[in-house]
Symmetry: C2
Subunit: 228 residues, 2 copies
Amino acid sequence: MRLSIFIFDGLTTLDAIGGYEVLSRIPGMEVEFFAQTKSLIAADTRRLGLLAWKGFADITSTDILYVPGGPGAFALEQDNTVLEKIRALDASSTWTVGICNGVGLLAAAGLLNGRKATTNYFYRERLAARGADVVPTRYQRSDKYVTGAGVSASIDTALFLAREIAGEQVAKTLQLGIEYYPDPPFPERTPADAPVLSKQLVSQFERMGAPAQLKQIAPFKELAALVR
Amino acid sequence: MRLSIFIFDGLTTLDAIGGYEVLSRIPGMEVEFFAQTKSLIAADTRRLGLLAWKGFADITSTDILYVPGGPGAFALEQDNTVLEKIRALDASSTWTVGICNGVGLLAAAGLLNGRKATTNYFYRERLAARGADVVPTRYQRSDKYVTGAGVSASIDTALFLAREIAGEQVAKTLQLGIEYYPDPPFPERTPADAPVLSKQLVSQFERMGAPAQLKQIAPFKELAALVR
């Protein structure tokens, strides 16, 4: 089985890595990180570079299409090359996964019309406006579409999907492998419980925007110069 | 304040990324990923490349030294160049962080003698043999040394440290930003609760070993060829 993780300029890394760390360890799983072109991809913080070792041209089908989110995803909602590729890979996939506002890319590609789907706390209205039936769950399955809430929910989502694919014994083994027995230092149980000021600040960040703006705050050139 | 994350051949990515995703967003934080040399670093799965955009020669001090674990860390316990660099950076740090068996590198560098420290479930005896006072907690502080349990515990550990550095309001905002309100699909609360077969399988993986062996199962050349 093959897992294809789409990465892009301005992604939030944990959206991708939380799921990768679980799903890549399912026995027999092949994994590839791909972007529009084979290149080094700068994360939203501009301090981390991930290698996309395949480009759109190198991948025409997959078993699991995995789309993370991040500030860079907003601009891609208008990018027909990206939406076409998502539709094309979805046409071959057994599972299609979206995390955080990466779920918005699935919706923009027209894949979630009328489907139950979750996303991050601040993106719910926007996802609903794109035709999804938004539910406030940590992860959500609708047929082959599996969606996750914000960023770290990629881990819960992937453990759920691992059980669907490989059964509970395997999924619990993966859980042990990454020791996902969380014990956060604070009592809040959902985003709705967070302090009001925290909600205001994160809401601002979520709207921060497009990759072009992100690049201005970045040592991106130093990173990118290392890849030819 | 500057966060310096050490990455190395065969690291477990979530060990690094879980903490990075929290700590890098503390206001005013500068972040750098470094390795022995400026290079592309292959994760333990051999399917993911991370860019170390600084080498040992480029960094002589830091505020937060962050050492993740992974199968590749075992060999580094015998690598004097690495242990010397850890000692040198620790000499300047305000905080020194170890995650998973990355805690073993701090211990091998002689930094945890008699100190309370945690690590992953399968590494506890080995860490104790290196002189640490091992506790089975999710994260642990001993003066400036902050240690975390396995892999995903990097998130809990970083939220704890974020509160120590920047206060509860900031830490809760970071928690909301990554929506760390976990809801795993299984009821187990600690590694000890995991199925016996899972423990056997993960224990085997933990012992899998050195980077040289890992490279044999990897498309590493294809990845590395992209960086000059």
